[in-house]
Symmetry: none
DNA sequence: ATCCGGATGAAACATCCATTCCATTTGGGA
DNA sequence: TCCCAAATGGAATGGATGTTTCATCCGGAT
């Protein structure tokens, strides 16, 4: 048997580790296995999506050669190696798959401390995903909108309310004028009625979307006023009205979504807006901020 | 057979097409299929790499529902639909690498994306620290107190208010009776005056401690009623009144503390309390649940 | 020339997969 | 209240998958 050089050795977990190990062993590799190495490094996408049969066919080798190759690199088998290629493609750290699996396995387990751990893991997962999912252009656009608003209206009900409350607190700390639309006494419509043309609504809502949030956001947008939405999918009912939209995918435990990633985004938006406004305020005194939306840009 | 609306119609070939078609048919989709749509849009990576079984499990539906969903969207089957998710991931790598590189290069910079990154790091740090700092005995004690309370009073003002709001939401979802002491109109004292002997106050406060929070917590404890405190040091003014205390050390960016760790703790407390009460409730059928009014419901 | 251990190809295998089918439930109209 | 159609859950099924096994091939040492 072509046994693994050292089965106890940790197998490569990231694509970069994998490349390093291949380089390191390439000399010692049998001819056919070196051929496999070449092909894989040259067509990583194909490896990520293909099956043993298709990859072997494309590389011009037998399926078993792939398995041997994987084992020569201290993997358990082809699938194990393939996981590295897949993780590379989804732009995540490789340990997440493992982490998620453990969370799901321990699903039945109880104990408050274990529960806490699971929430921690869910939060970590959400945070990692956030990094890859936020687009710089969207972020810049949202910050520009918020920075030139005279007043920022903040809307988030039910599960999203903690986020809204946090935003209100943070914006106030940053000397940015805001109105927390808390919808007390169903007075949401009255709370946003004072918004002017340059004002912005920062709306937060997740599945199941609170109808009031959607209605208020639509009403706000009706007047041509921009809405920045923090939600969870392109099909959120907030998407239509939103001039800028963030989709935050939060992991959940026992039906409770983490809010960690959303909070990070909220905090970043708040601080970035303050910085942007400070910069613009000093660069150009008033007026210059117009051209994003319609008439009557505010300073 | 629930046949496809129009099998001759070209199926979506790009991810954007797919999104459009889902949006277009969302209204007409049966409940379970809409659930599938939501899950897929929110976890596109998992769909790309997962199998029918894993995706169905994660979405909480039967495998057959996935196939039905795919066919409702004019695909041949799940695999056909999955191909769209895979194509979406193909060739995305450069973009991601580029982004990472830019973020790392811009170490000193202040762009919004870099800001987000820093908040993420702060949250990660806080989460890591939380794991080591929570004592199992304290946790168990707190959960025991909360579980046998008739009503849980929740108190957190200013920066801690989002946590309090979240707790109120979570406890309600879990069918645990709670009162959010929001101190509207400075009515905090009136809001807690109804608390009975077995009730518990869950108080949250961080430096600089809001005086009202401290006063209300002390007043609550005066009546011999237990206080569970989430705060940030043994010298917190909440420490004295607390029957159980958690010290959460959150990292901060630009003067803004992360709240991620605190949220995890809050969520864990809520769910653990619900589980504990369910267990006690089933162990001792009637009585343990009944004494909603009476003093000192015991478990 | 012969032997031998690693390397290789090809088929066999058990497992897992996507899909289909059918019994049951659900919900709205007569 | 009943009825019918749509929707749903769950098991059955045929096919494809990753892995293992084994016979053969090759190259170097004796």
């Amino acid at each position: 048997m072509p046994e693994a050089p050292d089965p106890t050795l940790p197998k490569p977990r990231s694509y970069d580790d994998l490349c390093a190990r291949i380089r390191e062993r390439r000399e010692r590799l049998p001819a056919r296995l070196a051929q496999v190495a070449n092909h894989m490094l040259m067509h990583p996408d194909e490896v990520a999506f293909g099956t043993v049969a298709t990859v072997a066919g494309a590389a011009g080798v037998q399926p078993s050669a792939l398995v041997r190759f994987a084992k020569a690199l201290d993997f358990d088998g082809f699938s194990d190696l393939q996981a590295v290629f897949r993780d590379r493609l989804r732009g995540r750290l490789p340990e997440h798959r493992e982490r998620l699996r453990r969370i799901q396995e321990a699903e039945g387990e109880h104990g408050p401390l274990r529960l806490l751990e699971r929430f921690e893991e869910a939060a970590q997962l959400s945070l990692d995903r956030l990094g890859g999912s936020v687009d710089e252009a969207t972020l810049a656009h949202a910050v520009a909108l918020l920075a030139r608003a005279d007043t920022i209206y903040i809307l988030g009900l039910r599960r999203a309310f903690p986020i809204a409350a946090y935003l209100a607190y943070a914006l106030a700390k940053l000397d940015l004028r805001s109105v927390l639309v808390d919808h007390v006494g169903a007075s949401g419509p009255e709370q946003i009625v004072g918004a002017r043309a340059g004002d912005v609504l920062l709306a937060v809502s997740f599945t199941p979307y609170t109808p009031a949030t959607v209605e208020l956001a639509n009403a706000f947008a009706q007047g041509g006023r921009p809405v920045v939405a923090i939600t969870d999918s392109p099909f959120s009912p907030l998407a239509q009205a939103a001039a800028a939209r963030f989709d935050v995918a939060e992991a959940d435990v026992a039906g409770f979504r983490s809010l960690s990633a959303t909070f990070c985004l909220a905090a970043a938006l708040a601080v970035a807006t303050a910085e942007r406004r400070a910069r613009d305020g000093s660069d150009r005194p008033a007026e210059a901020w117009a051209p994003v939306q319609g008439p009557a840009a505010r300073a």
